[in-house]
Amino acid sequence: MEDDCLGTDDEFYTSDQEDDYSIEGLEESIDGLENDESDTQWIPPKGTTTKVITQESLLAAQKEDLRRVMDLLFLREHHARTLLIHHRWDVEKLFAVLVEKGRAFLFAEAGVTLVEHQDNEPLLPSSTIMCAICMEDVPSDEATKMDCGHCFCNSCWTEHFVVKINDGQSKRIRCMAHKCNAICDEAVVRNLVSKSHPNLAEKFDRFLLESYIEDNKRVKWCPSTPHCGNAIRVEDDLFCEIECSCGLQFCFRCSLQAHSPCSCLMWELWAKKCRDESETVNWITVHTKPCPKCHKPVEKNGGCNLVSCICGQAFCWLCGGATGRDHTWSSIAGHSCGRYKEDKEKNAERAKRDLYRYMHYHSRYKAHTDSIKLESKLKETIQEKVSLSESRESKNRDFSWVTNGLSRLFRSRRVLSYSYPFAFYMFGEELFKDQMTKEEREIKQNLFEDQQQQLEENVEKLSKYLEEPFEHYDEDKVLDVRMQVINLSVVTDKLCQKMYECIENDLLGSVQLGIHHNIAPYKSKGIEKASELSACWVNKVNTSDKDLPFHCGTNGGSTEPEHPSGSGSSYESGCSSRKRPRKEGPGGGFFDLNLPAEVVDRN
């Protein structure tokens, strides 16, 4: 939320002037382009709202939410946590309930009981109380009274906690009294359980901490396997694609690989289809019949309806039954059937058409995915070429256009390859069958395919120019290649952006069920890399808190200052046609004490 410290994120949302090139005005925009893209390594701009939460920073990540609730309601931490867990860490929602229904309701609903204990006469250590659970008299110093006022002996409390923790209910352990809705103080739980079951106490702590990930729609585990241990927190827009600090890129919504402009549902269907080759199976079922003897699928390659399998068995093609070999054109010996032939032919045609359609899209999707793999190798050779060129005597020593062009190629190639499964579903019958008329579909398909085709052409051209042996060219020719690459980079970027706009507005935006197909927005600079959440300010801001369940050392590892340099970056320059409102970061919040003083001063 506000841990982006500098409050400058309003800058990067607004600064897309740099991207307003037109091909005609290319000359003056080249410089802009190079500045713009000089960092092929995607550096998280200081305002990146997407954060990597590591084991070390998990506590820090939730501290801020906890503190907001604690400060506003004058609560102790465990009460704030209980409230937040109840409201799935949605601070805004929690505050909304507070405003609408009042403090008492908010507390009662979540199980927070704040009883002013009038009978607070300290129990004499010598006195005994009767524990209503084990029905024994116990010395009062071996009993614990919860915030709700219910008092039971420590061993009963412990046993209760153990059962609940083992039951997976760590996050909401209620008081033992009948109909008491109060949630037990986590410090008491930790304290009592750790005496006899230290492992379980650790587990309890972990469950509580991880509630921030598990019960929070803004936070998700990174889906890497083996798991990198990180979680990702996004702000505002839950439809996005993220790169974790472990390098894995994924769709935040479905946790599968990044797949835009496919929607999550489309991608899920597509992946499944590719996995089980269901079209092939479909074709086999329609075009072949299992031999009644050896059960191999047999395809009829012509002739009459008496088919013989390679195993020697003859059978009737129409009904699949075994027959004798004597037959005439009109009848087969020992057999007579022959209805519903028309029906079957229709089925066969349909299956064939569906399969061809799938194959069409799949082969293109695959071709581009394969190209991505091949072009990854290009990266190395390009590096060599660049260093070779740089070593030559030349006026022009800046070869950032090569690497920039390469990144652009990768990004566009990605978009292109995922645009095929998108088209397969957008114009197919599976998802939007009754949502468009045939004519509408045709028009839209043409519109989309024109764009796709343009993008494809330019991507291929870009690929071609990047593969040219420019290190051996003379200066003029290098300048020419440079111009082409820069030109094509701009064009493909624009085309990608336009394609996303078309998809979001003209295609998905126009069908009724399109609402279920929100897609991650186009990012001109590639998939956003989540920046590490610094774990350290917590130690400085919150040293007063004694309840830290695990220690976040000062060497938390993730404490780089968050790139304070550079003015408004235009990383969001991409398609901003999404109609879903995007909140501009409110700025304020906490100072990052790791930042150089002059940066903090700027605020």
Binding site: A132, I133, C134, M135, E136, C156, E159, H160, V162, V163, M176, A177, H178, K179, C180
Partner: protein, 195 residues
């Protein structure tokens, strides 16, 4: 391990109070406090009045921190109790259990359930439907089941079986016929003759 000290105390407490509550809890077999039998009288003013209902009680290892497992062994016609197995649908025996509850309070809740059925959250859909659509028949059936299964004074099922056997029916068939019609001798006879 089950907290036997507490179970022992609960049993004592319960037997002290038996005159007033009518609720009895005894070990199923001697020396095993993890398996008990509870008895509750049918609440007055309900179709269960006059019956005595037996409930099988199994205590899980973590008792009292986990709820006891209770099941009717006496057949009961009630929307929240399975007419087949005797399973009870009651929140305090599940997620609303609290260690502060006892076997006696749990049995009292079961007794309260007998007087206040909750057909919207049924255990036995057939009974619940009858309760909602045809309350009179429901009351009749429930009373009849009470008469047939929950009363020691009423003619025992064995005697009915014996009489049917004397009429010439095989014992197993007579017994199952009686069971399917809920203990009504005439209905059972009809059933046997038609089948």
């Amino acid at each position: 391990m089950v907290d036997f000290a507490r179970v022992q105390k609960e049993l004592q407490e319960c037997s002290r109070d038996i005159e007033r509550s009518g609720i009895k809890v005894v070990p199923k077999s001697d020396g095993n406090l993890a398996h008990l039998v509870g008895t509750i009288p049918g609440p007055i003013g309900t179709p269960y009045e006059g019956g005595t209902f037996q409930i099988d009680i199994a205590l899980p290892d973590a008792y009292p921190f986990e709820p006891p497992k209770m099941q009717f062994t006496t057949k009961v016609w009630h929307p929240n109790i399975s007419s087949q197995s005797g399973a009870i649908c009651l929140d305090i025996l599940k997620d609303q259990w609290s260690p502060a509850l006892t076997l006696k309070t749990a049995l009292l809740s079961v007794q309260a359930l007998l007087s206040a059925p909750q057909p919207d959250d049924p255990q036995d859909a057939v009974v619940a439907q009858q309760y909602l659509r045809d309350y009179q028949t429901f009351v009749g059936t429930a009373r009849y089941w009470t008469e047939s299964f929950a009363k020691t004074s009423s003619l025992g099922i064995d005697e009915k079986v014996k009489r049917l056997v004397e009429m010439g029916f095989p014992e197993s068939r007579a017994r199952s016929a009686l069971e399917t019609v809920g203990g009504d001798e005439n209905l059972a006879l009809e059933n046997l003759c038609s089948g």
